[in-house]
């Protein structure tokens, strides 16, 4: 083989390798952007709930002023939400707020007048719907994180990821009472969960 051909082949191979690296890198970036986008999906719903909570608390306070403990729980959970920085902290604070709201709704059961108040019913419906939406947004976010984390942990992307500083993203975990994962298997033999985000339902 003549040297001319050899150099052409070498250049072609080098070019191919460079193109390959580019495309892998772009895929990684895209994957990371999707995680961020999915996070903003959660964020929107968290904010929506955040804006509903003060109204809800005010409405309930009008009827049940002396239930201080519950209001304090809600207030401290809201504070934690505002301070939270990372996905893990936000998730913890969000779970805390969900629990506090659960207590609030339980307390309301003792106030028939409040239960019949239309304003309260609308607010409660909105909050419950937002809780649902948060759960679904969380599911989508966790799937994205799983996809991204798997990418940057497996060869050949792992090399690129460590070189360019792609760090694993944090899952948005819930504590147990959230919606449990379902294991899919077509032959009944394998039951490995798809995402480690939530423990199976009790």
């Amino acid at each position: 083989m003549s040297p001319a051909w050899l150099s052409v082949a070498l250049i072609a191979m080098l070019g191919g390798a460079v193109l390959f690296v580019f495309s892998r890198y772009n895929t990684l970036v895209r994957s990371q952007k999707r995680v961020q986008e999915a996070w903003s999906g959660i964020d929107v719903q968290l904010r929506r709930r955040g804006s509903l909570v003060p109204n809800l608390v005010e409405t309930v306070r009008g009827y049940a002023e002396h239930e201080r403990e519950v209001f304090e729980q809600v207030a401290s959970a809201r504070g934690a939400m505002q301070r939270a920085g990372s996905a893990g902290q936000t998730a913890a604070a969000s779970n805390q707020l969900t629990q506090a709201l659960g207590h609030l709704f339980a307390v309301v059961e003792n106030y028939p007048q409040l239960r019949a108040s239309e304003n309260f019913l609308t607010l409660r419906q909105d909050v419950l719907d937002t809780e649902d939406k948060i759960a679904f947004a969380r599911q989508f976010y966790n799937r994205n994180v799983l996809d991204y984390n798997t990418r940057i942990a497996t060869y050949p992307d792992a090399v690129l990821a460590s070189h360019f500083g792609f760090n694993p993203a944090e899952f948005f975990e819930t504590d147990g009472d959230g919606r449990a994962e379902v294991h899919v298997s077509f032959d009944g033999a394998s039951t490995r969960p798809h995402a480690p985000a939530a423990p199976p339902a009790a």
Partner: protein
């Protein structure tokens, strides 16, 4: 196939499916090439008039100018057809919506809206446009040529029959079809299927005239078998040009009536069987409630089979095969469009915590619903208003409507009891008022329930009506009842 090896994310699935579709097109082209070659050869050989040219030996035709021109023409034609198919897909999704009588979801139906919205958040999809059909047969399907221009159609019957949990499961199943980009392919298939069945349908509609009915089957079989026989004889004997042309002509019916429907049925089976199961699995992953889907399957499969036929060319698009079992045809028997409900439930049984609830009760509910539905269809039109109330509509009809509903019999618009100049009150939410007697024309206004309109006469499937300010057409299927004064 062990676990779902499919990619987790919508984006990755779309990429993967796009690759698969391209592969399919390439395979199809490669498969078609010999056909093009063969057809050109046949045509060059004897199918076209020879115009006085000497026809040489058969093999020498390959490479002759005539052969080349014909091959080229056919190839161009196929390319045009392929592009047409792409446009046909987008046209057909509109056609399907129109054909199913779907109307955009009016105000209300908050539950359905929320379910769709939430599941879309979970799947990372743009929410599809929602439509509802007036059909009381519970079913649903999705159409659309891109995952961000999709439409989801549910029947009123589905909303009546299913509870929140089961409705979520069905919606999740349809959203999975959208996310997996099945809607493109199945719309295209529906287009092909209905085109391929066109001659058959034309023949059937002619032959359904009673005196001809008995001869129809015999004619089809006779023409088909006769064509094949003549063709075989021609191939074996030394061909005479006139006979040969006749043989080619005789091949056309056997293609139209036998081969084309069979091919479509086969393709539909192979494609939709697996995709249905995959969509079920995806739906269970999305709702995390395989049991809900199993309950929905049990209920809906028990409730369909009502004598409300739908075009079987679209059968594969629905949540459950909507074609009634009695109209069994051998093509469909050989290749059903859906896996059986039992097979689908079996798959779901192996997910999550299995199925604890009693499916028998669910299918009993479906059977009961079906019975009631049949009663409503064959009984006097009394239950029209009652049926509306039974639907868990968040907006009950205006009190005035209900009052007149008690005194006067509610009238379905389709009946001929309407007289010109009489006044009627609309029942449905947001009845569209069209500019022309045509579902494609501009919607002038959406009329609210309880509005009184003056009836001006029928035009086709539309009724010309006058409201206080404007005049237009409403569909004959729009629900209305006479006002107290006119009756």
């Amino acid at each position: 196939m062990a676990e779902t090896a499919a990619p987790l994310l919508v984006h990755n699935r779309i990429d993967a499916n796009r690759r698969n579709t391209r592969l399919l097109v390439v395979c199809f082209t490669v498969l078609l090439l010999p056909v093009v070659w063969g057809v050109s050869w046949l045509l060059a050989w004897g199918g076209v008039p020879s115009f006085g040219f000497q026809v040489g030996s058969r093999l020498s035709l390959v490479g002759s100018w005539r052969f080349n021109i014909i091959t080229f023409c056919i190839a161009v034609l196929l390319t045009i057809l392929a592009f047409a198919a792409v446009y046909l897909t987008s046209f057909f999704s509109w056609f399907l919506l129109w054909k199913s009588g779907a109307r955009p979801l009016g105000k209300g139906w908050l539950e359905l809206r929320q379910v769709v919205e939430n599941l879309c958040i979970g799947a990372g999809l743009t929410p599809p446009t929602l439509y509802v059909t007036t059909s009381e047969v519970p079913n649903a399907f999705a159409v659309g040529c891109a995952h961000n221009q999709a439409s989801l159609v549910v029947s009123k019957g589905l909303l009546t029959l299913l509870d929140h949990r089961e409705l979520s499961a069905v919606v999740a199943h349809e959203l999975s079809h959208i996310a997996n980009r099945d809607t493109d392919l199945s719309t295209l298939l529906a287009a092909f299927a209905s085109v391929a069945r066109l001659p058959q349908r034309m023949f059937m509609s002619v032959s359904s005239i009673p005196p001809l009915f008995g001869t129809a089957g015999a004619t089809i079989t006779g023409v088909t078998l006769g064509g094949l026989l003549v063709y075989l004889v021609m191939i074996m004997s030394d061909p005479d040009l006139v006979w040969f042309q006749l043989a080619v002509l005789m091949l056309i019916p056997s293609y139209l009536f036998l081969l084309a429907p069979l091919m479509i049925a086969f393709v539909r089976k192979t494609i939709s069987h697996e995709r249905e199961l995959l969509a079920d699995a995806d739906a269970a992953l999305l709702t995390r409630d395989p049991e809900g889907l199993a309950l929905a399957l049990a209920k809906v499969s028990a409730a369909v089979g009502a004598p409300v036929s739908s075009d079987s060319a679209f059968a594969h698009m629905f949540f459950i095969d909507p074609t009634p079992p009695p109209s069994f045809s051998w093509v469909r028997g050989v290749s059903p469009t859906h896996p059986s409900p039992d097979e689908r439930i079996d798959l779901l049984r192996r997910m999550g915590d299995g199925i604890v609830e009693d499916l028998g009760a669910a299918s009993e509910a479906g059977v009961n619903y079906r019975g009631e539905m049949l009663l409503r269809q064959y009984a006097p039109p009394k239950p029209r208003v009652a049926a509306r109330d039974a639907i868990a509509s968040p907006e009950p009809p205006a009190p005035t409507v209900r009052r007149t509903g008690d005194s006067a019999k509610p009238v379905h618009a389709l009946t001929s009891q309407w007289k010109t100049g009489s006044r009627f009150q609309l029942i449905d939410d947001e009845t569209p008022l069209y500019e022309k007697p045509d579902g494609w024309s501009t919607v002038l206004q959406r009329l609210s329930p309880g509005l009184v309109v003056t009836f001006m006469g029928f035009e086709g499937n539309f009724a010309r009506v006058r409201t206080e300010h404007t005049e237009g057409y409403i569909a004959r299927i729009a629900a209305a009842q006479p006002t107290a004064q006119s009756s």
